[in-house]
């Protein structure tokens, strides 16, 4: 037995309440204030998982975000979250968790066979073995992924709410330890708007496991009173359980707040989000993110029971856990001694403090010796021995005077916990993410922040200041400076007094020498999560790798959920040594967001589901369409009625009915979604001349004209009808989907190329509700509805517009037709759109008026050969390809004109728009079908073009299609073949693209 237990008193846990939870199927208990790790450690659980590659048993190493081993799958079903660190999971009643590695069971792990064959699994093993032949990788991958473990994403929809919050502040403080608290306090007292975020459930950082006194009170009391003052300040936002995960350009930072995790699944108010992603724009940033203790690298340093000194102190002081009966310390600096003091304070036997420095002196050493703990200067641990429960012995050896070799073997010491400290690595992640470059400080043996490139400053141990008094002072100064830099200089703050600590120097040690005397030959682990060893990095160098970024990818050093928080610096130092470089020359890998993993829920926020992922635009008549049971189609962001099924009609029947009714009686279409742009100014006609391929300067007031807009490449970009309202004043319509792009295009030309043109544009798309009344009875219908102007063909010819009153509503009525029928487009102020629609429907009752949707609209226009930009064109089609030479002016310039003369645009075998009639009139070609001249089994078959639109025409009682065919205009009557994916071959004859009424007699219908 390891002898782990709970101290009878102390710690920040609530002993008055017990919590039961399950880990790997077994029930345990803990207290509020525990983490999953502390509660399990208190009950003697040491085995938390198995490593990624060799499946070695692993225990808890750390007490926070740095933890590489104790990864669990938390919760069940839809609430389940993979790969959470047990060291950061707050315990709640009913918690369930299981280890993510260790299939089929933690105790007997099938993958640990890898451990025996470790010599066959060197660095780059996967690259060398499974990548060749390439096709085999997909086969191996399934098994490797399974054996490699790591958690499982839930398959059920996430039942929780996630949201986002955007916020600006004067000073953002990342980290609520001593430096961060004082920085926030100083900035808040100065009057600044402050956000203080800390990843833990409570503020205090290292003070949560400290026995220090601040201003005469306990560290914890000082934390509480400081937090109380901050909370009372309305300019301060306190964010506990919130990790500053990303630092981006222009002082934009992202904070991941875990709001209800600690309550457990289904326990939180459903109105409160589970996580919130704060998106903060900060004037100034103070990084008080602390430091992470570094492991020492020696043989067998990965067995359960080897933990960081700071973690041992945290479990003892904060969680009142006595982690074992007997412990020992292995350190290269003074801070490790505190773990020995804490272990003794908790009643543990401390076998030794093993210090690899030859002559450690000072306060720390004296305090340990005063407790009767033996100190072994100039010694190291060269091996560990373990049983099924983890560590039980360490093997001591003496170093040579220069520290480079083992001098003598000093025997075994009993201990179940070995606290190790290889020094501290300032948490420079956010500083580095901001674009700055950390530099290596030889005195501290760690990377410290370099020159800032954004408005940020580091304070406290994240800047390499490791003593409490120094951290408090640095925090206060950083807070004052940040507030002043953001324009706030009021307030006053005394730096609290605390006992100054003298600290001896650190002796950098990146790898403990191997012993020739011992029997071990065990691995020295750099990265516990990825099982990267010293030998792996050295092998990579022997194989020619030089860049730290390449070595990382070859050895997996620093990958995984912990991103190398523990192992990276040691690994870089080992690499530097192998390359004969300094650490500054080798450098670090790139620190990227996020600092710790962020859930997809938090990233998605509320922008999920049909309702909120993409906006839904509705016309003024939308409620009517819904009441009629219309089926909707998404067009751009609009919901447009697709068809209106009657009494269980299927789509085909409904569309046939709608088409027939419109050709024979009268149909109505909600055309409100078309883009509309008001164009006004003395140069408006000239502007249109430059935009469109045809001429606009002769268009009379009250007349309409159809136009094509080309890109600079001569390809069709948009089309629509533009009406001259009065001289110098036009109303342009665009396609539904192209409206915003066309508006931007026009403004761009006006503002950047032609500022001398006096033209103003205003988007009026939403102001007008437009209904298209189409069919031979449309004129009769409108006359019955009451119009105060003459609807007759002589007074109101095709392609003209009249303003007046329709059914008592002010309206613009245009004789425009996209169906090829006699048609009137009636536009009214959208507030009256529904009233007009209902009035038309009522008046149309006696004509059996039929609302039709976009599908019938498509069929009707295809019967007439009218193209839809974006369907029959695809950005590679000119007006000439559509056979519409008549719309391209020879006598003026326009955007895209020069491109029409390019050899490729002018050649005669370009794809050209044609009609297609299948030999089998009932067969409707699939849109997108490829066309060939002769079907063939051999590949490739020369492609002659493709079908762009295809429908069954109820009016023609057969299928029709539009297609783009190479040289199609000169191939009328030829047969081409659609060779379909399923092998079907469909012969079709090339015809004119106009299938109905080529003389346009129907839409003109000048007589009533």
């Amino acid at each position: 037995m390891s002898g782990a237990r709970r101290s009878p008193a102390g710690g920040l846990i609530d002993r008055s309440h017990s919590i039961t939870f399950r880990f790997n199927g077994k029930e345990y208990s803990g207290h509020p204030g525990d983490t999953l790790a502390s509660a399990l450690l208190a009950q003697g659980i040491r085995l938390f998982g198995r490593s990624f590659k060799y499946h070695r048993p692993r225990g808890v190493v750390g007490a926070g975000a740095e933890e590489p081993n104790a990864l669990v799958q938390l919760g069940e079903g839809a609430y389940s979250t993979p790969n959470l660190r047990a060291t950061q999971i707050e315990l709640y009643q009913g918690l369930t968790a299981r280890t993510v590695n260790g299939w089929p069971s933690l105790a007997f792990d099938i993958g640990s066979i890898n451990n025996w064959f470790a010599r066959l699994l060197p660095a780059g093993f996967y690259y060398k073995t499974f990548m060749w032949p390439r096709s085999a990788w997909t086969h191996y991958e399934r098994f490797i992924r399974r054996a490699a473990g790591l958690g499982v994403a839930p398959t059920a929809p996430d039942p929780d709410r996630y949201d986002k919050m955007h916020r600006h502040c004067d000073v953002l403080v990342a980290g609520g330890g001593p430096a961060g608290l004082l920085a926030a306090l100083a900035a808040a007292r100065a009057g600044a708007r402050v956000i203080l975020a800390d990843e833990q459930s409570r503020f205090g950082g290292s003070l949560l496991y400290s026995d220090a006194k601040i201003s005469g009170e306990s560290a914890l009391d000082w934390v509480n009173s400081t937090v109380d003052e901050l909370r009372a300040n309305s300019n301060v936002t306190l964010l506990p359980r919130s990790t500053v995960t990303g630092y981006y350009d222009h002082n934009f930072l992202v904070i991941n707040e875990r709001r209800t995790h600690h309550l457990g699944p289904g326990q939180a108010d459903p109105r409160v989000s589970r996580e919130r992603l704060w998106r903060v724009r900060a004037c100034q940033v103070v990084l008080a993110t602390g430091a992470i203790e570094r492991p020492l690298v020696f043989e067998g340093n990965d067995v359960p029971g080897v933990m960081l000194c700071s973690a041992v102190s945290t479990y003892i002081r904060r969680y009142a856990v006595v982690p074992a009966r007997r412990g020992a310390v292995f350190t290269n600096n003074d801070s490790g001694y505190q773990a020995a003091v804490d272990m003794a304070w908790a009643g543990m036997e401390v076998s030794a403090v093993v210090d690899l420095r030859p002559r450690p002196t000072g306060q720390a050493v004296e305090s340990v010796e005063a407790l009767g703990i033996p100190v072994y200067p100039g010694h190291v641990i060269v091996a560990t021995r373990s049983n099924a429960k983890g560590l039980n012995q360490i093997e001591l050896a003496r170093l040579t005077d220069n520290g480079s070799d083992i001098l003598s073997h000093k025997g075994l010491l009993d201990c179940q916990v070995l606290a190790i400290s290889g020094g501290w690595s300032p948490t420079v992640h956010l500083h580095s993410q901001s674009g700055a470059k950390a530099r290596f400080d030889d005195g501290l043996a760690g990377f410290v922040p370099g020159q800032s490139v954004q408005a940020e400053r580091s304070a406290g141990s994240s800047a390499g200041t490791f003593d409490l008094a120094g951290c408090l002072g640095a925090g206060a100064r950083a807070g004052v400076a940040a507030a002043r830099a953001s324009g706030w200089s009021g307030g006053h703050l005394d730096i609290p007094m605390t006992q100054a600590a003298q600290s001896g120097s650190i002796q950098a040690c990146w790898e403990v020498p191997s012993t020739e005397l011992g029997p071990t030959g065990a691995k020295k682990f750099l990265d516990f999560q990825n099982d990267t060893t010293v030998a792996d990095v050295q092998l990579a160098v022997r194989e020619g790798y030089r860049s730290i970024e390449h070595v990382k990818r070859y050895t997996a050093l620093g990958f995984g959920t912990d991103q190398g928080k523990l192992g990276n610096i040691n690994g870089m130092a080992v690499l530097a040594d192998a390359l004969g470089q300094t650490l500054n020359e080798t450098g670090t890998t790139t620190f990227r967001p996020n600092y710790t993993p962020v859930t997809f829920g938090a990233i998605a926020g509320r922008a999920i589901g049909e309702d909120r992922f993409d906006p839904i635009r509705k016309t003024a008549v939308h409620p009517w369409h819904v009441r009629q049971g219309a089926k909707f189609e998404n067009v751009g962001q609009w919901k447009r009625p697709w068809y209106y099924p009657r009494h269980g009609e299927d789509m085909h029947t409904a569309v046939n009915r709608e088409c027939a009714a419109t050709r024979q009686g009268v149909g109505v279409l909600d055309a409100s979604t078309l883009g509309k742009i008001d164009i006004k100014g003395p140069d408006a006609a000239e502007f249109l001349n430059r935009l469109y391929t045809n001429r606009w300067d002769k268009l009379q007031s009250g007349r309409c004209r159809y136009g094509f807009m080309l890109g600079e490449d001569g390809m069709i970009m948009d089309d629509g009808v533009t009406t001259c309202l009065e001289p110098g004043h036009y109303l342009m319509t665009t396609t539904t989907g192209g409206a915003a792009a066309v508006m931007g295009w026009m403004e761009r030309w006006l503002q950047t190329e032609w500022p001398q043109l006096k033209v103003f544009l205003t988007s009026v798309t939403d102001h007008w509700s437009v209904m298209s009344v189409a069919g031979p009875r449309s004129r009769q219908l409108l006359e019955g509805l009451g119009c105060d102007f003459d609807l007759g063909g002589a007074a109101f010819p095709f392609m003209s517009m009249r303003e007046g009153s329709v059914a008592g509503i002010r309206a613009r009525v245009s004789r425009i037709s996209f169906s090829g029928e006699l048609a009137f487009e009636v536009s009214v102020d959208a507030n009256s759109g529904l009233a007009l629609w209902e009035a038309v429907m009522e008046a149309g009752h006696r004509f059996d008026i039929t609302p039709y949707g976009t599908e019938a609209m498509h069929v009707l226009r295809a019967e007439k050969g009218y193209v839809i930009v974006g369907q029959d064109t695809d950005g590679s089609v000119t007006p000439l390809d559509l056979g519409m030479q008549w719309i391209v002016s020879e006598t003026k310039d326009f955007i895209g004109k020069r491109s029409l003369a390019r050899s490729d645009t002018a050649r005669d075998n370009r794809k050209q728009l044609v009609g297609l009639l299948t030999k089998d009139p009932a067969y409707v070609l699939p849109e997108g079908a490829q066309l060939v001249n002769a079907p063939s089994e051999s590949r490739p078959v020369p492609m002659m073009g493709h079908v762009s639109s295809s429908y069954f025409s109820a009016n023609l009682m057969r299928s029709i299609a539009l297609a783009l065919v190479k040289g199609g205009a000169s191939r009328m009557g030829n047969t081409v073949y659609a060779q379909l994916m399923d092998g079907t071959i469909v012969p079709a004859v090339i015809t004119s693209s106009v299938f109905l009424d080529p003389e346009n007699e129907r839409q003109r219908q000048e007589a009533a």
Binding site: R161, D163, K164, M165, H166, R167, H168, R193, D269, R271, V272, S273, R279, R281, R606, A607, D611, R612, D614, P615, I616, R617, K618, T619, A620, P623, Q637, W638, T673, D678, K680, G681, P682, K758, F760, L761, T762, V764, T765, D766, H767, W768, S769, A807, G808, I809, V828, D829, A830, N831, S832, G833, L834, A835, L836, A839
Partner: protein
């Protein structure tokens, strides 16, 4: 007079829902059927500025993101040569303005059917907006006389600091008709935690 329907008159949402603290800390109300006119003209042309001032009573704001108010008309800066005139409706001074401007290069376009105003207020309105709005709405930065254009969730909007006669400080969100339903449902969902009331449109 035929019936008119404002963009949010048929919105399908709960009218009232308590927040997690059993409070209603946010309210919404459509300010329906306001007159919205988009005005474009040359800010260097003193005749243009004078014509507006004479008929509507305020100097067109030339400072970006500011608002001028006179009586029930507001003029909001949209761009160096573009403003939104928000008011009660066409009236005699407005018709006079139309005539006065006719001699100079300008554009005055009626958008009254194409836009509406969502007014949001209550103690938590800034937090509700904060879930969607990337701009700084803190009272130190965004106060009476200010307006700003941005994208809220998916919708282009103009936000105007406002004072509601009945309910105090508020924000007017001018949004296109077709997006109004989407935006208001989004904001109401954002107010789930603080609780909300949706008042009947004010006409």
């Amino acid at each position: 007079m035929t019936s008119r329907f404002s963009p949010l008159s048929e919105i399908k949402t709960p009218q009232r829902q308590l927040g997690a603290s059993d409070r209603l800390d946010c309210w919404f109300q459509e300010q329906a059927f306001r007159a919205h006119f988009n005005l474009r003209g040359d800010p260097q042309n003193s005749d243009f500025l004078q014509a507006v001032k004479e008929q509507l009573g305020f100097d067109l704001p030339l400072v970006p993101n500011t608002v001028s108010v006179a009586g029930r008309w507001r003029g909001c800066w949209l761009a160096p040569d573009e403003w939104l005139l928000l008011g009660p409706g066409r009236s005699e001074p407005f018709e006079t303005l139309v005539g006065d401007l006719s001699a100079m290069h300008h554009s005055l376009v009626d958008l009254s059917g194409g836009q509406t105003v969502i007014r949001i207020g209550g103690p938590a309105w800034r937090d509700v907006l904060g879930s969607a709005c990337t701009l700084d709405l803190h009272p130190r930065v965004f106060e009476a006389g200010h307006c700003a254009q941005t994208v809220l969730t998916h919708s282009n909007v103009l936000m105007i600091h406002a004072h509601d006669d009945a309910r105090g400080e508020a924000l007017d969100i001018v949004v296109r008709r077709s997006f109004a339903d989407d935006l208001l449902r989004w904001l109401i969902d954002a107010a789930t935690e603080v609780g909300f009331e949706l008042h009947r449109p004010r006409t």
